[in-house]
Structure formats: C-alpha cells, structure tokens
C-alpha cells in the first residue's frame, strides 16, 4: 500500500542532520551526561549500602535524597538522551504535563489511603 504520510515525515527527518563538527560537540555532551548519571548512581548505591532503614529522621532525609536524585537522573535521561529538551515547547508540555496532573495526585491519594487501610495485608495474605 502506498504510504501517504511519508512525504511530510521525510521532510522533518531530513532536517535532523548535523555536521561532523556539530557531532563532536554533541558527543561531548553525551559523555558529560553519562558521567553525571554514573556519579549519581554511585552515590545512590554508596548511600544504600551505608545507611540502613530505621525509624529516624536521618532515614527520612535519605529517602527523600534518593527520590530527588532519581528525579535528577530521570530529567537527564528524558531531556538529554531522549532530547525532549531540544523539541518544541508544545511537544514537551504535551508529554510532561500529564504527570503533574495525574501522578502527583495519585501518589498522594495512594499513600494516604494505603495508611488508612493499614492491616489489610493480614486479612488478604
């Protein structure tokens, strides 16, 4: 079957070319992000081995540190590796805004209701 979407497609894809010199700069950025991701992972693993779970404030702080570091990693992967940061702003918003609308509320309600259902595991294990 003749594909009628390819003509327009190709015009966008054909513009996605860069020269050897631009390639050098892009690769440098890729290696930078690689280093950042590796260092964050190393810090997470180090903290994971060093600190044990407990009922203390330290552990709560560490838990939040893990979450913030994870969001940093996710940001670098999405913005740099998936180069969403280079796309038009309206595509970026179409992809990211649904999470701010749904996921934050879902996390809040799941943990609130989960604590309200404390003990459910003993009824249904």
């Amino acid at each position: 079957m003749e594909r009628d979407d390819l003509i327009v497609n190709d015009s966008y894809a054909l513009n996605a070319h860069h020269s050897e010199e631009e390639g050098v700069a892009i690769r440098k950025k890729i290696y930078m992000v690689t280093a950042i991701l590796s260092v964050i992972t190393a810090i997470e693993v180090g903290m994971g081995v060093m600190f044990k779970r407990s009922e203390t404030f330290t552990w709560t702080a560490i838990k939040w540190t893990f979450i913030v570091l994870t969001l940093f990693k996710a940001g670098y992967i999405v913005m740099s590796f998936m180069h969403l940061g280079d796309e038009r702003k309206n595509l970026r918003n179409a992809v990211i805004l649904p999470y701010f609308v749904f996921i934050l509320y879902l996390i809040f309600i799941a943990i609130t209701e989960g604590l309200a259902h404390y003990g459910m595991d003993l009824k249904f294990h």
């Binding site: 327009v8 966008y12 690769r27 690689t34 994870t70 038009r88 996921i103 879902l106 943990i111 595991d121």
Partner: protein, 336 residues
C-alpha cells in the same frame, strides 16, 4: 539533535494546518504518545506498590538485604549486583544515543557499531535479571517459624525475646539440604553435635551440611546472627513451618505452612517484585527485538535509501524509556 524543532516558524504557519505543530514526524510523535501512556502504566503499578506497602503491618523487606548475592561468589554484597545491572542499562542507553548521533551524520558503520553494543547490553541485562529471579525464587537458605516463645542473649549480650511464629533463618548450604530433607526424611539423617547441627546426605558421595548460626530479622531492621547454645535454643523451638525462597504457586515446593515466602508474611513483596520487574523485563526484551530489527534494516541499507536514520531515533526513544523506568524501579524496590 533538534533538527526541524529549532526552526523559527510563525504562529500562523505553525498552527495553520498542513504541517505538524510539533515539528516532528507522525511516527516520532506517536512514539512519544505511546511512551506517555506506557509511563502512566508503570506509574500506576508503582503507586499500587506504594499503596500495598503503606497498608502493610508485616515489616516490608529491605531491598538491599534481600538482594545481596553475586553470581558465582560466596559472601554478601548488598546492592552490588543490581547496581551493576543499573550501570549496564545506563551504558546501553549511552550507546543508543551515540547510534542516534551517528545516524544524524549518515554514518552507517557507526550506527551498526553502537546499535550492536546496545543489543549486547540489553541481553546482558536480561541474563542478569534471569539470574536474579532464579536466586530470588530459590531463596538463600530459607527459614522456619518458632513453635513457642524463646528468650536468647544476642551477640551484644542483650536479651531478646522472640515470639512464637517469628521467622528464624538458616544459612545457604544447610537450608538447601534441609529443603531436600523435608522431601525425604529417611536418607538425610540429622544429628546434633554440641553447639551445632549436622545434616548428612547419604548415597554414593555422602556430604554434610553444618548449621553453626541462625539469623533473626534477616530481611528487616536489626538483623542478628545467633551462634552456639543460643542458636540451639532457637533450633529446638522450631515448628514444622518452613519457607524457602519465593516459590511460585503451582511450581516447585509448597510446604503447606502458613507462609510460602521466606521474605515476608504478606505475599505483596514478591508479587509486586515479580510483576513490576517482569513487566519491565518484558519491555527490555521487546526493546532488544526491535533494536535487532532496526539493526538488520540498517545492515540492509534501508536507511540509506530513505536518506535518513529516523527509525534509529524512534527505537532509541523506546530504549531510553526502558532505562528511565528502571531508574524508578531501582529506587523504589532496592533503595527505599
């Protein structure tokens, strides 16, 4: 690597029809929309995990205590293997983005090299996950429940009271022979020798397993190793309820005790572990397959005829997404 997206376009032209308002091709936009919906699926699963964990009375096992083995090595390496897996997946994401970059320069051999390495990284990750699942299912020694309340003195000299039903963990060698002993009590006699217990597997090449130490609170807070006479108190108070690893219902061992999993009383921990890492592993598997398909397309010079390598970019988006999900799974299953 923006391509068309950085081109300056007036609002009237952009939204005037006849072109993509996102300045991306149909295929790339639909890949993004698919990833948005897939991310919501994973988000839903992780939130269900949070709900279950928050509602659980039974202490939730600590990831780094559960996953502390390395293939082929004795001893304990908390988090080490899963950290290695995470690193492998990040590196395979890097090789993927390098393949996309090579595609933008129409560098066919570069695309082949980096995509090939990405596939290798994906396969290593899948193999590691298979090993980890297998280790998780078989467990590391298993446990029994105490039949009655026992008071012991821990290695720090403090007295501890363990309630009936509490789990006490055996070591790896002894536990595995014990597992067979439960199947076959005749050919594996048990003797007690002072402060330790000996199981002997008879047969052509008899071999023994010695129990020198038992652990309490193994996968939760305050893990304690108990030895000598204190250990014998625990051993003599054991009930008939044993649990080894996380047997999958209908497959392998089922000891008929109240607890089927050595990790926790509630099944939630194993269930969510299997479902979420399994669903992620399925994504890795399909990512490897799609990567291979595109690799073969590049090999057959399909992209040269099209004069662009956008297909590599689209499969790249999927592959980075797989890495992205793992970043969250790693945090919520293993670190927190």
């Amino acid at each position: 690597m923006s391509g068309e997206a950085k081109a300056a376009i007036s609002k009237e032209v952009l939204w005037g029809g006849g072109r993509s308002p996102f300045s991306v091709s149909y295929g790339k936009m639909m890949m993004w929309y698919f990833l948005v919906s897939d991310a919501l699926t994973f988000g839903g699963l992780l939130i269900a995990y949070a709900f279950w964990r928050a509602s659980s009375v039974d202490p939730w096992p600590i990831g780094e205590q559960v996953f502390r083995s390395m293939p082929g090595l004795e001893g304990e390496f908390p988090l080490a293997y899963v950290a290695l897996m995470t690193f492998i997946l990040i590196v395979s994401s890097v090789t993927m983005v390098l393949a996309v970059e090579a595609g933008h320069r129409n560098d066919r051999s570069g695309v082949l090299k980096w995509m090939g390495l990405t596939v290798v990284g994906g396969l290593i990750f899948l193999g590691s996950q298979a090993w980890e699942w297998s280790h998780f299912i078989h467990g590391s020694g298993g446990c029994f429940n105490l039949a009655k309340e026992v008071s012991i003195t821990n290695p720090d000299g403090e007295s501890m009271t363990l309630l009936a039903g509490q789990r006490v963990y055996m070591d790896h060698h002894f536990g595995h022979l014990m597992e067979m002993h439960l199947n076959d009590p005749v050919s594996v006699p048990m003797t007690q020798d002072g402060g330790h217990v000996v199981l002997t597997e008879l047969g052509e090449h008899p071999h023994e397993a010695h129990l020198h130490a038992l652990r309490v609170n193994k996968y939760i807070e305050n893990e304690t190793i108990v030895e000598g006479d204190e250990m014998m108190k625990l051993w003599n108070a054991r009930s008939e309820n044993f649990a080894f690893g996380a047997p999958i219902p209908g497959l392998g061992a089922d000891w008929g005790g109240i607890n089927h999993s050595e990790y926790a009383t509630q099944q939630g921990f194993s269930n969510f572990f299997f479902f979420i890492t399994g669903f992620h592993g399925f994504h890795v598997f399909s990512g490897v397959v799609i990567n291979l398909v595109v690799f073969l397309m590049v090999l057959n010079r399909v992209m040269e005829r099209r004069k662009h390598y956008e297909m590599v970019e689209k499969v790249g988006l999927y592959w980075h997404f797989v890495d992205l999900v793992w970043v969250f799974v790693f945090t919520f299953f293993y670190l927190i």
